[in-house]
Amino acid sequence: MFNGNEILETIYMISQENLDIRTITMGISLRDCASDSARTSCRKIYDKISRYAQNLVKTGEDIERDFGIPIINKRISVTPVALVAESSDADNYAVFAKAMDDAAKNVGVNFIGGFSALVHKGYTKGDALLIKAIPEALSTTERVCSSVNLATTKTGINMDAVKEMGLVIKECAERTRDRGAIACSKLVVFANAAEDNPFMAGAFHGVGEPECVINVGVSGPGVVASALKNLKGADLGTVAETIKKTAFKITRMGQLVAQEASSRLKVPFGIVDLSLAPTPAIGDSVAHILEAMGLERCGAHGTTAALALLNDAVKKGGVMASSYVGGLSGAFIPVSEDAGMIDAAICGALSIEKLEAMTCVCSVGLDMIAVPGDTPASTLSAIIADEAAIGVVNNKTTAVRIIPVPGMKEGDVVEYGGLFGRAPIMRVNPFSAEEFIQRGGRIPAPLQSLRN
C-alpha cells in the first residue's frame, strides 16, 4: 500500500520546492524537406512540423493534469537547417527561420531549436549561408533558436568559425539593441554539441537521430537545495549521498513523463536529460545549492569543487532512474536565469574567469552572461575559443551564450523578464586577443582524440 509521508513529500517537492519537468522536446527530422526551391522547402518544413507536433502541447498539458506535475515548456528541435537549406536556391536563409517560427506559433510551442550549422572541421556552402543569416533570423523571429558547433574532440577547433561567431554575436546584439540584445540569448556556440539535447537555446535534432523522438529535461535545484539545508555540518560524503537520492527521485519523474508522452504521442522515447536547470524564481537556483554546501557566495574559492561534487552526484543518482540518459546531463550555470548567480555577480563574488573554471566540471558553459556593449568581437571570439578548448580537451560539451549589450557597461543590469531573467553586466579582461583570433585556421585535435 502507499505511504502517506512519501505522498506528502512528493507533493511538497512540487508545491514548495519548484520540482517540475523543465521541457518535453520533440525532435523532428527535416532531412526530407530539402528542395531546390527555397519556397517549396519552407512549405515542407512548415507542414511537417505542424503535422508532427500538432498534439505536443495538448499532450503535455494532459500529462501535467493527470499527474499533477508542472511541465514548464513544450518545445521542438529540428535537423540543423544548414543541411536542409543547402540544396535550395536561397541566398538568404532567414526565410527558413521564418518558416520555423510560423510552424512553432501554429503548434503553440515557445521555442524551436535547430537554426544550426555543424562546422567543427569546416564550412559547406550551406553552413556559410546559414551563419551569415543568423543575425537577421534571430532579430526578426520570436521563437527560433540557433546554434553553431565549431569544435569537437575528434576534429579540433575551427578557428575561422570562432572568429566569425564573435562578429555574428556582435551583429545580433546590434540588431536588437532596443531589446537588450535579446537575439544573443537565442544563440549558442558549442564544442562537442549533444545531438539529443532537449534544452534551449542549444537544442537541435542530430543527424543520427530517428525520424521523430521525444526527449525530456528534468529540473529541481530547489529540491536539492532544501534537502541540503537539513544537513548542516554533515561531511561531504553525506552531502553527495543526499544529492544522489534526490536526483534519483527527480529523474524518476522525468522518466515517467517521457514514457507517458512517448506512448500518448506514438513517438519513440529518446532520452532523459539529467540536468539541474535553474530559473530566476526564488528557490530554484543552482547557486543556492552551492551556498547550502557552505560557501558564503557562489564564486568564492571552493565553488568549483562544490560544483564538481554536485554535478557528479546528480548523474550518479539519475542514471539508474532512467533507462536512457543523454543530452547535456549536468548542472546548468546560466547567470541571468539563476537568482543566486545574479546576486553573486552583482556583489562581485562571481567573475567570468571563475565561471570558466566551473564549466570544466559541469554542463555546459558560459551561459547567459552579459558583458559591456563595447567588448570587441575578437574578445568574444577568444572567450569562445577558451571554452571550446576546455570542451575539446576534456571530452565534454561546452558552450558560450554571451550577450554584449549595446550601450551598457560593467555594473549595469539588463532586464529580460520571464525565464531569461536579468543579467548584471560582468567585467571582461580588457587586454586584446585580436592578433591570435585573426590568425584563423584550425587548432588540431588533441592527443586524447586518438583512441583507436
Binding site: 500500500m1 502507499f2 512519501e6 505522498i7 506528502l8 493527470d66 499527474f67 499533477g68 515517467l256
Partner: protein, 89 residues
C-alpha cells in the same frame, strides 16, 4: 487506473463528506483512506480506483478542485504512478 486524492488545509466539518459525495456521484471506488491532523493542518490521503468512473479524469479533477475552494482546502487528484515511481524501484 488508480489515483491519489490529497487534501491539505485547515480542519473543518464536512471535508470528507464533500469529497466522498463527489466520488459517489462519479462512481469512483475508495480503496484506502487515512487522515492526520498535525498542528491544526489537516491532511487526508485517499487511494481511489477510477476504473468505473463515469466522467473524464479532467472533470473529476475540476469538481474536486472546486469543492476544495469552497472548503478552503487544497485538493489534488493525481495518477498513482507519480508516487510509486518516485519512491519505489
Amino acid at each position: 487506473m488508480k489515483a491519489v486524492i490529497t487534501v491539505l488545509g485547515c480542519d473543518r466539518i464536512g471535508i470528507i463528506a464533500s469529497i466522498t459525495g463527489i466520488l459517489a456521484k462519479t462512481n469512483v471506488n475508495i480503496l484506502d483512506i487515512s487522515q492526520t491532523i498535525m498542528q491544526n493542518i489537516f491532511s487526508m490521503i485517499m487511494l481511489v480506483d477510477l476504473s468505473g468512473m463515469n466522467c473524464e479524469f479532467s472533470k473529476l479533477s475540476e469538481l474536486l478542485t472546486k469543492v476544495g475552494e469552497e472548503l478552503g482546502v487544497e485538493v489534488r487528484l493525481q495518477r498513482e504512478e507519480i508516487f510509486t515511481r518516485m519512491h519505489r524501484i
